[in-house]
Each structure stands twice: as C-alpha cells, then as structure tokens.
Symmetry: C2
Subunit: 398 residues, 2 copies
C-alpha cells in the first residue's frame, strides 16, 4: 500500500480510543469497552503504538472533554512563526470548515444536532468527530477532522515518493523510519428524502519530516481530496449547479483543474464489480504536489469553503419533495451501492479498517439504512434507469 | 491469493452472464445489459475467457432456459464409470441438497417462491441460482449451486499445494497452467423476524487435472465448507440445537472434527475491525485433503444433508414471535455487520468481486436491508449486549 493511501486514511479517521478492537483482548469475559460511557472514563490510559499491518505506526488516542485550541505539537503550534506554517494554517482551515458545515447542516435540518467526540494523542495529534443522526432532513451526517503524527518505514515512503528520494541522489543513504504529519476533514451527508442527494467531501494535507538517519533527505508534502455527490434521482439543475460550483473553484486556480479532477473523480468512485460509479461525481485529486504549495493550500481551502454553497441550496429545494415507498426503496438500493464502494474500494476506509483505526469514525460514512435486491433492473427509460445510466456512462454536466 | 481461495469463490458464485461489468464497455451510450429480460436474450453470445486479476481464467457463461441433467463435461458426466467419479457424485449431491433446502424453505415460508436462474459455459460447467425475496418468513433466501472448469497458473497451484508438488520430486518440472474443477453449493437465508436467525452454509469440492507440460505432477483435490448461523437474539435452546446437529454430523466421522471445525468457524467469521464475530458460529473447514477422499465426500454430504434439520425447527419456533421496532433495528444493525464481514473479509466474496464473477449470485448473500448507527452500544446486561458478548467471546454451547 502506497504511503499516499496511508495519508488518505489517516485523515479520514481517528484511531480507536478503546483497546476493544484488539483480537488479543477478546477472550476476556469482560465487556467493559462496550459499556455506555456518558463521561470520559477516569481510568488511566497507557499510550501505545498501534501495530498496523499496513506499516504505519500511530499512537493510541485518549478521549478529551473539551476541544483543544490545536492538535499540533508545540513546535508546530499556534505561536510565533509556527502559526504561519502550512500545517498550522491547514488545521485552522479544516476546523473552521467543520464549524461552518455543521452550522449550515443544523440550520437546514431544522431540528437535528451534531454529537461531538474529541480525542488527542499523547505525542500530538487528535481529532473531532461530529455526527447528526436521524434528524429532520438528514438520516446521518458526519463531519470529522483529524490530525495525525505517525511513522512510516522507508520502503513505504519510497513506494509513494521513490523518484523524489532517489532522484536527489539520496537513494544510497540507508534511511530509518520516516515521521509524517497528516491532517484532514472528511464528511458524508446522507439525507432522508430520496430526491435529496448524498454529499461527500474530504480535504487532506500530508507532510513528512526529514528522517533522523538521513537528514539530507528532502521533506515531502502533498494535498488530496475532493467533493462529490450521489443523488438517487437526477434533477439536471441540481447536477449542473453542483458541478458549476466545483468548476468555479477550480478555474480560480488553473483551467486544467476541473476537467482533470472531474475525470479523476469519475475514475476513483468506480464500483468495478458493478461497472458503475456510486454517484454523479464532482472533483477528486490525490498526491498533488506539482504546483506551488501556497497555491494548493489556497485551492484546497477554496474547495472546502465551497461545500455549503454547492450543496445546501440543492437540499433546500428537495428536502420536502413528496415521495413514495418505491422512491425510498430505490434510494436505499443506491445506498447499498455506497456501502459496496466504501467497504470494498475506498482507500481510506479499507486502509483504516486494516490498521485498527477508530471504527465509528471510519464507518460514519455508511448510511443509516441500505438495501440489496436480487437482480434489480430499473425499467428502461424510467427515472431510476436514467440515474443508473449516468452512473455507468459519466456525463459532462457543464 | 492462494488457489484455495480461488476454489472457495469459484463455487460460491457464477460468473457474470453479461459483459456490462467490463469497464471497457462502459462509455457506450447503450444500456442494453440493464434491460429487463423476461426471456433469455436471443442474440448470439460469444464465449470468452474472463480476464481476472486473481490469475484464474474461466469462460463466460450463457443463460439457459432449462436445467441440464449435469453441468459436467461429457468425460466427467453421468454415464458409465464417470458417473461414479467424485466430481459426478458431488454434483448430484449438491443439486439434491439445493432441491431439498429450497423445498423446506418454501414450505416453512408459506408463500414465497424461489426464482431460478440457470446458466452454462461453452467448455463445461454452469450453475443454478435460486432466490426467494420478500416472502412470508424470509426477507431474502439464496441457494446457489455451481460447477466450474478453469485454469490457474502453476504459481497459484504451488502456493496452495506447494509442498505436495515439490514433496513428490516434481518441483524441477516446469509446469504449465493447471486445469481445475470446482463444484459447490452456497446459501444464505435471512428471515424477517428478528428472533429468527440467519443461516449460511457452503460445501465445495476442488480438483486439479494433471498439467499438460508436467504429466507426472499429482492430481490434487480438497473439500471445504461449513454451516454457521447468526441470530440477533440468543435463545439457548436454539443455539444448542444448532451446534448439537453440527457435532452429531461431525462425530459420525471423527471425534476431533467438531472441536476443530467449530474453532475454525469462530476464527474465520471474525470481523477484525470490530473485534467481534458476525454470529454464533457452527463449523467451517477448508483445503481438507488429509483424510480418505470417500470419507470426506460422505462427511460433506452428511453436513449438507443436516442443514434442514439444524435450521428449520428453529425457524418454526421463532418466525411468528411478536417484536418491536427496537428488536427490528437491532437485527438490522447485526445485518450491517453481516455486510461488513462479507464485503471486507469473506474470501469467496472478495475474490468473486475482483474476478468479474456474476455479481448478483455473489451478493445474494447480502441482506435485503441493513443499518448502521454511529457508536451504538447496547446497554450492559440487555439481550442485545448478551448477543454481542457471545460474538466477542465465543462460547462452547454443548
């Protein structure tokens, strides 16, 4: 697994805060980790490294009662020159966007409130998960930020950035484990009304430190992310509006971005075994570092800040549309496809599941309810058929 | 991926009967493969080898209007000495068990009828998928048999059976692709009532031919399978009855079988990222060839023939138990876990998804409906908590 995928997942989830997911503890008769905890447990927690099959080590997290001002280590933090670092500015941005999106969702929902879980790690890093479940408009809405300090073996680092390392004449240096930093925001919003689309967005920043054993090795960084949406029914004005907002955000930076990242999105969210995409796309990019770093920080910020304007007006138009049981069943079938994509293909999810991440944060992306019917085929020409056609044959919407 | 996994999956599913799952055809504007087909399409179908990432090649299948007497090639078929071969006897057994189980399910359902899909492959092999959906008692019940003739590269063969090949002094022979035969029955039965358990069973037989380039290489064979069940609530008498039937089937052959295959089952149906099993186990085994072949054929037969007696009495007791919305929601959450196991860990499913198998046959194992709630924790001591405890800490039921 390339380090890029590690970065993708590490900012998509926050590692487990209990040790209940460790197979070694399973045979104990106690069900302690399953108790309902209304306050943070008071027993002392011993920080430990999570042993991960995917070759990335991160510390176990500790629940927190309050949000800290920053999850960055002191040297990366909010004071002095450090506060102007890309790490610090990216963390500030994703936390502001989290507040902004949650406020907009709560306002549009008209009743549901986000439940918040906060945690930190002894060596720095942490996260905030916010979930609104069974609200007025949304079935399940999750908006998570996380900051991770970890270590990856040099092979994983080289696998992702090999040409940069060897290209700089450092390939003969015997490098030790590579410390890395990752931060990101990730969100999936599943509305109840079958005419209101699901939205997903995720923006993340990844950076490596120079290795201790090979101080001459260059520091690497890259950006990843995107915004895509998944209706069960096509309203052309909605799809056009959504894609237009993505294009406008892209065009402010480079006219090549929208066509390139739109195609990347269509290619990425592909359910191979179905031969169809999970939705109607948007933009997606990963491992992006071949542009000016400040430009890409500004671009990620622009994209993340565009989410509310791209999505909420569509929800306002569709949230109260009358629907039948059949409309709902079709939405549930498409939710089943969403589950298939996330559990089988999504790099962040599959990596997270294999590395002992905080399961509830990783799987908050799954819908509250989903459905599978044997050999379901929409009638040719029906609205359901049109949606499926667009998932099979991606279109240019603008 | 070891060849054993290939065998497991090849009998779990039947390859896709349309080419719609090939990414190469997606950009065509036609939605032909999605049309509702009430009769088998009359346009000619060109057999082709399925290009598979997992290094196993099988031919594309053709829909059939009627069940053939056998899916075996003529040389393996029902006539003369061939009819006494293990291949022929195993095929007859799984087809009889399919009839038997479907008849028992329809009788207990009291209304639902199985829909049947039959297909064959030009070079031999084929399958019958039967699905009962939204019946009186069952939400979704699938019972599939399939017979596969395929070819695997020598590396895959050696990976699975390496010691047998090299142990016989043939490791220096440069072997070509290895033809194989696989047949199996696979079934998942999801009832509606939350007090009625889900049942899964799967029995399969795998055999290789001697390779053309290395005719001296030994022919290999093995058996795999098991029966396990997944209630949402524990009724001790049900669990004990189910396990007792498994033990009785095992004890007829070897007293070591039940303890060994019971543990194998607990270990296999483990959702690693949750630290819990999907259900309360049963028996499971794979790659089994270190016993007499006739004995293992008789053992697989005994197990498959025990399914109705192990399961249907439990359904009869529970199918009409009154339940609340909360009981149903908990069942749906456990169905979500079933989806997680099948899509993330099950070897047959994950292999099938990656190799262009017939998706509807592979994913018939998924429930009609499922549910995911953020951070759901049953109250300590509740019936839900007891089920979860038993999924985390496997018990000896008899």
């Amino acid at each position: 697994m390339p380090a890029a995928a590690a970065a993708a997942s590490l900012v998509l989830f926050a590692p487990s805060r209990s040790s209940s997911s460790s197979p070694r503890t399973l045979r104990r008769p106690s069900l302690l980790p399953l108790r309902r905890a209304t306050v943070a447990p008071s027993r002392p927690r011993i920080p430990r490294l999570v042993a991960v099959r995917a070759n990335v080590a991160i510390e176990k997290e500790t629940p927190e009662e309050e949000r800290p001002e920053t999850f960055l280590r002191a040297a990366d933090g909010h004071h002095g020159a450090a506060s102007a670092s890309v790490r610090a500015r990216f963390e500030r941005m994703i936390r502001e966007v989290q507040d902004e999106v949650c406020a907009a969702i709560e306002a549009a929902d008209g009743g549901g409130k986000f439940k918040e879980d906060v945690w930190s790690r002894p060596g720095g890093g942490g996260g905030i998960s916010r979930v609104l479940q069974d609200g007025g408009v949304w079935e399940k809405a999750g908006v998570n930020v996380s900051v991770v300090y970890g270590v990856m073996p040099p092979e994983a680092y080289r696998a992702a950035k090999g040409e940069a390392v060897s290209g700089n004449g450092n390939s003969s240096v015997k490098a030790g484990p590579v410390p890395f930093f990752a931060a990101g925001i990730s969100s999936v919003l599943h509305p109840k009304n079958p005419f209101a689309p699901t939205l997903h967005f995720n923006y993340r920043y990844f950076e490596t430190d120079a290795t201790k054993d090979a101080p001459g090795a260059p520091r690497q960084w890259w950006f990843g992310g995107g915004t895509d949406f998944t209706p069960a029914y096509i309203f052309e004005e909605d799809v056009k509006h959504f894609h237009r907002v993505q294009k406008e955000a892209c065009d402010k930076f480079d006219p090549s971005f929208y066509p390139r990242f739109k195609k990347w999105c269509d290619d990425y969210f592909f359910i191979k075994h179905r031969g169809e995409r999970r939705g109607l796309g948007g933009i997606f990019f990963d491992d992006l570092n071949d542009y000016d770093q400040e430009m890409l920080l500004a671009f990620s910020t622009e994209c993340a800040r565009s989410v509310v304007g791209a999505y909420v007006p569509i929800i306002e138009r569709r949230k109260d549309t009358p629907f039948t049981e059949q409309h709902k069943a079709w939405q549930q079938l498409r939710r089943g496809r969403y589950v298939e994509f996330n559990l089988v293909y999504d790099r962040g999810t599959t990596f997270g599941l294999k590395t002992g991440g905080r399961i509830e944060s990783i799987l908050v992306s799954l819908p509250l309810t989903a459905r599978w019917e044997y050999d379901h085929k929409p009638e040719e020409g029906s609205e359901e058929w049109k949606l499926l056609d667009a998932c099979i044959n991606p279109k240019e919407w603008i």
